[in-house]
């Protein structure tokens, strides 16, 4: 097995590790995994936390360990790397589609949002259910640190928006 194939397999293992708060999204989709390094049977996985206080991060580190141990790697080292800081721009296209199918509006590109200006018009977010852009923000903070709460004015469904970060 050559090195690249080996590495692809390792990455595919991590695609089986899901975010406990958003069970359709793997940690690879989320863009949390920075690097996997193999040294014999020892693996070092470098991850970047989404939000500093995100309670899912401890769970994710544990799940990575469990997944890789189940694949036969006895020594798994998890390294945290906080710089450069995680951004929603690192989320994969596949991840965005899975989020939408799950009913969470995927993050808008960063350059369009994240303004400092006060009382700015709310970001336009597309309803993941009926695709209408006619939506309004109910709360800038939502059920987890990474989400905001929106409602669709056309189909009336409330939905989570994975806010750009």
């Amino acid at each position: 097995m050559n090195k690249t194939t080996d590495n692809n397999i390792l990455w595919s293992y991590l695609e089986e590790v899901y975010d406990p708060e958003i069970p359709v999204l793997s940690i690879v989709d989320m863009g949390i995994v920075r690097d996997i390094e193999r040294n014999g049977q020892e693996l070092t996985v470098t991850i970047t936390p989404t939000y500093t206080g995100c309670p899912a991060m401890d769970m994710i580190a544990l799940s990575i360990r469990m997944e890789l141990m189940a694949k036969g790697f006895t020594t798994v080292i998890i390294k945290n790397s906080i710089s450069p800081a995680w951004t929603t721009d690192w989320m994969t296209e596949a991840g965005r589609e899975k989020l939408k199918a799950y009913g969470i509006a995927p993050p808008n590109p960063r350059q369009q949002a994240c303004k400092d200006e006060l009382f700015a018009p709310h970001e336009a977010v597309q309803c993941p259910h009926c695709n209408s852009w006619h939506t309004s923000r109910i709360s800038e903070f939502g059920s987890t640190a990474c989400k905001a709460l929106y409602q669709c004015i056309d189909c009336k469904e409330p939905f989570d928006y994975f806010k750009c970060h």
């Binding site: 206080g53 995100c54 906080i82 800081a85 995680w86 994240c114 400092d116 006060l118 800038e140 903070f141």
Partner: protein
């Protein structure tokens, strides 16, 4: 080295104590969305505190952990600014405390991006993204309350009277700050400009000639910190080493 450890603890203590204060709003916010907002901010602050305590614990060695630093230090060892330990009061007081602190923290973390210590710079970079949200959210609320109803204006004016005297401390360097290469006095102008800008929109006046309270950075606190710690540290003090 010692000064970097103390400075890291200073940054961590600020975040932990304000995070602890805000968390008491959980289930008590004026409306559900704002209850979620203030507790999310609390979570961000405690997250920042964790990163900073972990870094301080690494530097300290000798079995120190993020938990031992948060749960087993005494009141006089905590270095947080007096502002962060002030009571929640009403919504206006909580909002204004957050606004003053977020404004300070925003410029502080911006200056830390260029700090020689790359770990502190990385934590600042990460946290700044969150602080941006906190600052925007609290600024909007200060304006809403100040330029709102007679009652909301009365309440936020009272909060200004109550809290302004704790903002001067931000800019007076403790010995460890200077030694760690920080220049808090350099943040003063940006802080005042931002506060003035928001206060003007909120129809609030900036108090003048107020005697500024100090001491927190060097462990001399108001009576409130002891009560916060007795609650925060209760489990580890009563059941040493307990885990869940």
């Amino acid at each position: 080295m010692n000064s970097i450890i103390n400075y890291t603890l200073y940054l961590a203590d600020n975040a932990l104590i304000l995070g602890q204060r805000n968390s008491a709003w959980c289930g008590h916010g004026p409306v559900l969305e704002q209850d979620i907002a203030i507790t999310n901010i609390s979570l961000d602050l405690i997250g920042q505190a964790r990163s900073l305590y972990q870094y301080a614990a690494d530097m300290l060695g000798n079995g120190a952990t993020e938990d031992s630093l948060a749960y087993l230090r005494t009141e006089r060892e905590f270095k947080n600014c007096l502002l962060t330990e002030q009571p929640n009061g009403d919504w206006a007081q909580t909002i204004l405390r957050q606004f003053f602190f977020s404004t300070y923290q925003f410029y502080l973390y911006q200056s830390l991006l260029a700090h020689a210590d790359s770990n502190l710079a990385a934590i600042a970079e990460k946290s700044l993204k969150e602080v941006r949200y906190h600052l925007r959210w609290s600024s909007e609320w200060v304006i809403r309350l100040g330029d709102g109803t007679e009652e909301s204006n009365r309440r936020i004016c009272k909060a200004v009277d109550e809290l302004w005297c704790y903002t001067g401390e931000f800019f007076i360097p403790a010995e460890y700050e200077t030694a760690a290469g920080a220049n808090p006095a350099g943040l003063k102008e940006a802080f005042y400009t931002k506060v003035k800008e928001v206060f003007t929109q909120a129809t609030l006046a900036l108090p003048e000639n107020v005697f500024m309270q100090t001491g927190g950075k060097n462990g001399v606190h108001t009576e409130h910190l002891g009560f916060i710690l007795s609650e925060l540290q209760y489990m580890q003090r009563s059941y040493p080493g307990c885990e869940w």
